[in-house]
């Protein structure tokens, strides 16, 4: 799978949040780094169609795509509390699938598969507000996995997690068969990725392997 941004600009009012982004991504693990307010969250939201370009377009496998992006690309938010809609875990996991008008059997099958994939079957009948932060984040991920997307975008997924949950969650992300794009300030977690993009002031200022981009980012922060 590859996704391409062609001359994408995003404006909010008079403010240019992203400017002339042209890039093609086909690697399985892509990390996005940058300062607060650099535009990386807006960049991430473009993948799934939550944000739409003011100008330019997105191409999925070479085909311009706008409305159906969310069918192919899942999105995991920083705060799982804002992503979980129903009070009981299994109801929440079924939410997106019901929107796709799938049969009950298919919904059940997908939930069982996704929960087994991450070893979370024991959480199925729990109240979502009683889960720990780490469990909520994992359930938010399962809620995306049941949709069987080809790519999953994570917007700072480990910010609210402790060290143990952070490592568990990143190990889960690394093992996913889908293409993943992770926006994070946790540079060590991105070191094993295939490609890193460094965004500053709405532009991609560095793009390459983790060692060179991350080291350059750290060096620029010392100036």
């Amino acid at each position: 799978m590859n996704i391409e941004f062609a001359d994408v600009t995003v404006k909010k009012g008079d403010v240019i949040v992203l400017e002339d982004i042209s890039i093609r991504l086909s690697e399985r693990r892509v990390g996005v780094i940058g300062r607060n307010g650099s535009g990386k969250s807006t960049f991430a939201r473009l993948f799934n169609g939550i944000e739409t370009p003011t100008s330019g377009k997105l191409l999925l496998d070479g085909v311009p795509e706008r409305k159906n992006l969310r069918r192919h690309v899942g999105f995991v938010f920083q705060n799982p509390d804002n992503q979980i809609v129903y009070p009981i875990v299994e109801e929440d996991l079924a939410f997106g699938l019901r929107n796709l008008k799938l049969s009950k059997t298919e919904i059940e099958e997908r939930i069982v598969d996704a929960m087994r994939q991450l070893g979370l079957e024991h959480l199925r009948n729990r109240f979502t507000h009683q889960l720990s932060g780490g469990e909520k984040q994992m359930i938010a991920l399962v809620g995306v996995l049941v949709m069987r997307p080809r790519m999953i975008v994570f917007d700072e997924p480990t910010t609210l997690l402790d060290l143990w949950n952070k490592q568990t969650f990143m190990a889960m992300i690394t093992d996913l068969p889908q293409h993943v794009v992770v926006v994070s300030h946790d540079l060590e977690l991105l070191r094993g990725f295939d490609r890193i993009l460094h965004i500053e002031a709405g532009r991609i200022v560095a793009d390459g392997d983790p060692a060179s981009v991350i080291d350059g980012y750290i060096a620029s922060s010392r100036c």
Partner: protein, 197 residues
């Protein structure tokens, strides 16, 4: 807490269609107001007790359902005693308690998703301009976000207490409203991201 009221189970009441339960609840509540008097309210109480037993609910569920309303029931009792007499005040309070417990039977045996299905079924014949799915989603979000808003309120109160402002309504309400609106915005994006049209 409200969202904890669902009790996992497979009793006959859990299996009844949510639309039927909601209709029965509306009917019982209406009858309790139309046909006043101790015999009717006692019958309603007995019916609710039977439903509690059938659905496997315990005394702690009765306590959990009535506890938040105790102050209101006490105020009603005092006012009615002052305005009428203690017998009528007892009747009014007992009737309210039966109504609350009848509603508890429905929420304790019906998942939110089933409730949403029930609402959608009820809106089946509504005109096409009625946003059925949005109404149903709104109901489920209300139930889901009661604990979330409560948690935000507790965060804000603790933060303001640290600044000595926990009795200042503006200091409590402004951050609460701002954070709630910000959360609502992100929730809307998350729902959009999960294929909801």
């Amino acid at each position: 807490m409200l969202t904890d009221l669902y009790v996992f189970g497979d009793s006959p009441l859990h299996r009844i269609r949510p639309g039927v339960k909601i209709l029965a609840l509306v009917l019982v509540c209406t009858l309790l107001f139309i046909l006043e008097g101790w015999p009717m309210v006692s019958l309603g109480g007995a019916l609710v007790a039977l439903c509690f037993a059938l659905s496997g609910l315990r005394l702690r569920h009765v306590v959990a359902a009535l506890r938040p309303a105790l102050w209101i029931l006490l105020v009603i009792f005092l006012v009615q005693t002052y305005l009428t007499d203690i017998l009528f005040a007892s009747f009014v309070v007992f009737r309210f308690a039966v109504l609350i417990l009848a509603a508890t039977v429905v929420t304790a045996t019906t998942r939110t998703s089933e409730m949403v299905d029930g609402i959608l079924a009820g809106l089946r014949f509504a005109p096409s301009w009625v946003p059925k799915n949005q109404i149903a989603l709104g109901v489920s979000l209300c139930l889901r976000f009661i604990p979330l808003v409560l948690s935000v309120f507790q965060d804000v109160r603790q933060a303001q207490r640290a600044r000595g402002l926990d009795r200042n309504m503006i200091a409590l309400l402004v951050p609460l409203v701002v954070r709630t609106l910000k959360t609502a915005d992100e929730v809307a994006q998350a729902i959009h991201a999960r294929s909801f049209d």
